[in-house]
């Protein structure tokens, strides 16, 4: 009964905000990955700066703390020659009772060109994109449990870098999927890019059966989940989950669903191991595996800067 245009795309189908991977045409995703390749080479030069966002102001609005994600966005924006302002919202006016939209209006009055937003509630970046001035672009740096699209894109870049063709792969995502925005973004990206088998692996409290509706195969057994996989994406287990009501203990979780060398041996011999970070050693992943030859966790970070440069320069170049 209700209809709305996808707020991420302008009327020509070009990307003006990055809010979620869901609903993005495959061509747009591929375009961003291709552009990221160019920026990766830029990041290997001595002069790592290009002038694409010169004179633009990028405001990092982090309603939820994350130094590492904020830092990668800051580096990416600065390499595009943008001015970067970091706003620690928890301690600022919002704590004094200023509404979210008043905060946005005030920042727009300071001539912001782009907001990079992280918020603890699903959907917050959509609200901001709907209410900010038409020339302002919004990048979702993670909203509640809904989406973390730049992480999804950098995960895809990583897979493409090491594996090439998406259409022949088996990818296993392991961990607290029901509460993970990274998992949702990865699943949408993998299915859009044509990965034939995406598995969601974990205990029933973290991987309920109705996740199958997103196009994944649900596995409650780790061995079955990683068998013959080309890519294993391990998710961070949050401390709150181990309070006892959802999972009994970190130890039991690690025994059953942690990635150890012998579980990894069930995957394809050239399988790659990924993790969005920060890793909980000995909880979801064994130290030796995290540091081992199958792990591409550190390259993910490098790719992350290039992907974010690609995202920001793509949307900044399109008019609403």
């Amino acid at each position: 009964m209700l209809s709305q245009r996808n707020p991420q795309l302008n009327k020509n189908g070009e990307l003006i905000h990055l809010l979620s991977i869901e609903g993005l045409p495959r061509a747009v995703i591929t375009q961003i990955l291709d552009t990221a390749g160019t920026f990766l080479s830029v990041n290997e030069r001595d002069v790592k700066k290009v002038p694409l966002l010169r004179g633009k102001s990028v405001f990092n609005l982090f309603f939820e703390n994350s130094t590492r994600t904020r830092t990668t966005f800051e580096i990416a924006a600065k390499r595009l020659s943008a001015d970067v302002i970091n706003l620690d919202i928890a301690r600022s006016s919002t704590a004094k009772g200023e509404s979210l939209l008043d905060t946005i209006a005030n920042l727009s009055a300071m001539h912001a060109d782009m907001f990079v937003v992280r918020h603890s509630e699903s959907g917050a970046p959509y609200l901001i994109a709907e209410h900010c001035a038409p020339h302002v672009h919004v990048v979702n740096a993670g909203d509640g449990r809904h989406a973390h699209p730049t992480q999804g894109l950098l995960d895809m870049y990583t897979i493409r870098h090491y594996k090439g063709d998406f259409t022949q792969l088996t990818v296993a995502i392991v961990g607290d999927i029901v509460n993970s925005r990274v998992a949702r973004s990865d699943i949408h990206a993998l299915t859009t890019l044509g990965v034939p088998e995406v598995r969601a692996v974990g205990p029933k409290t973290l991987v309920p059966g109705d996740l199958a509706g997103m196009g994944v195969r649900v596995c409650h057994d780790m061995a079955e989940g990683v068998r013959d996989a080309d890519v294993i994406i391990m998710l961070r287990l949050q401390n709150e989950r181990m309070s006892g009501a959802v999972l009994p203990s970190a130890g039991e979780y690690f025994k059953r669903f942690g990635l150890t060398a012998d579980k990894l041996a069930l995957a394809k011999p050239d399988a790659i191991v990924m993790h969005p970070g920060p890793i909980n050693r000995g909880v979801e992943i064994d130290s030796a595996v995290a540091d081992g030859h199958s792990s591409v966790i550190l390259p993910q970070v490098t790719f992350g800067i290039a992907v974010r440069m690609a995202v920001m320069s793509t949307i900044a170049g399109n008019v609403a």
Partner: protein
Amino acid sequence: MKLLIRNGHLVDPASGLDTVGDLAIAGDRIVALGPVSRDFEPERTFDATGLVVAPGLVDLNARLREPGYEHEGMLESELAAAAAGGVTSLVCPPDTDPPLDEPGLVEMLKFRARKLSRCRVFPLGALTRGLAGEALTEMAELTESGCVAFSQADSSVVNTLTLQRALQYAATFGFAVWLRPQDPWLGHGVAANGAVATRLGLSGVPVAAETIALFTIFELMRVTGARVHLQRLSSAAGVELVRRAKAEGLPVTADVSINSLHLTDVDIGYFNPALRLSPPVRQQRDREALQAALADGTIDALVSDHTPVGADEKTLPFAEATPGATGLELLLGLALRWGEQCGLSLPDTLARITCEPVRVLGSAIGTLAASGGRLVQGGVADVCVFDPHERWRVDAGALASQGKHTPFAFATSGVELAGRVRATLVAGGMAYEHLG
């Protein structure tokens, strides 16, 4: 005043009256309907050619936000909204600020409403003090000041022993208890459990939250003999349990909101906060079951669930937005839309918002029970005159209510409604008039 409503399509669902004719009103009573004697000399004649003349609508759930928001003139605006929607009697829940757990508060509310002469207000009293779910309220005293039944509004009584005692106490006096079937522990989500909530990363309310609460309520009804009205069913499974309880002979009635009747979780779209509702709207199967149940009488009444929410509380990330939508001015149009979709006759459609709600209220509304929700000679002149063919769009700015948020706003939904109120009479007085 003597008023003649001429040449309208008279519809009285309770008696089956469905004919073109005249309606004569003197003072606060209907003195004649159908053929009207030539001796009747009206002071005013209202030409109702092409319009439907029906009993005034009876809405079993509309929030007026008073006490609590008097400074914003809410009672005035919301009762004006009721009149604009053709509603002549409404029931308001006790979750005001402070809650309606003291006779003085109830009397004040009734007094203020009576003075405005726009719509009859029937308050529900709080079942427990402060709606805290612990101590019982003085139900007999509250009934004397005008409460028609007792309710916990949207809070659940966590303690089953307390709930049982409350039902027992109410049953002592024959008072009805109106309850939202929602388990307090499973009901914390912001959207209905399902593919949409999973995709959007929103916490879900499982159907079990409703069915578990229904099992509990029915069991306590068997034990205490209390009469219960179930508010705002939302699921096919819930409907089935109510059907069986009625077949068993339990003294239970039920209602459904205009939102659950017409919307599904897919309508949340890109986190539209107008869809932040309690109960959350569920899936296609549930909508179909609710529509069929309202048609076959398993659900007795359709309510607007009118809840005015300010812009500050709605333009927030979905989970933080206050649940609720405006509804008084949409009740008629959405009832007619449902009736048409289900292939019901006009009288059968209107029954769910006129005589059936009055039957649910029963003797609690006193003498009004005899003719409320009905067009009958000698009965109260609570009338709604409407144009069943006029199409209109819901424009937030044009609503009389201060609640501007609705999932049916044309700007976001593209929905057009048919059925425009032309006149609303309460006790024979013109509470609202809209010149076409």
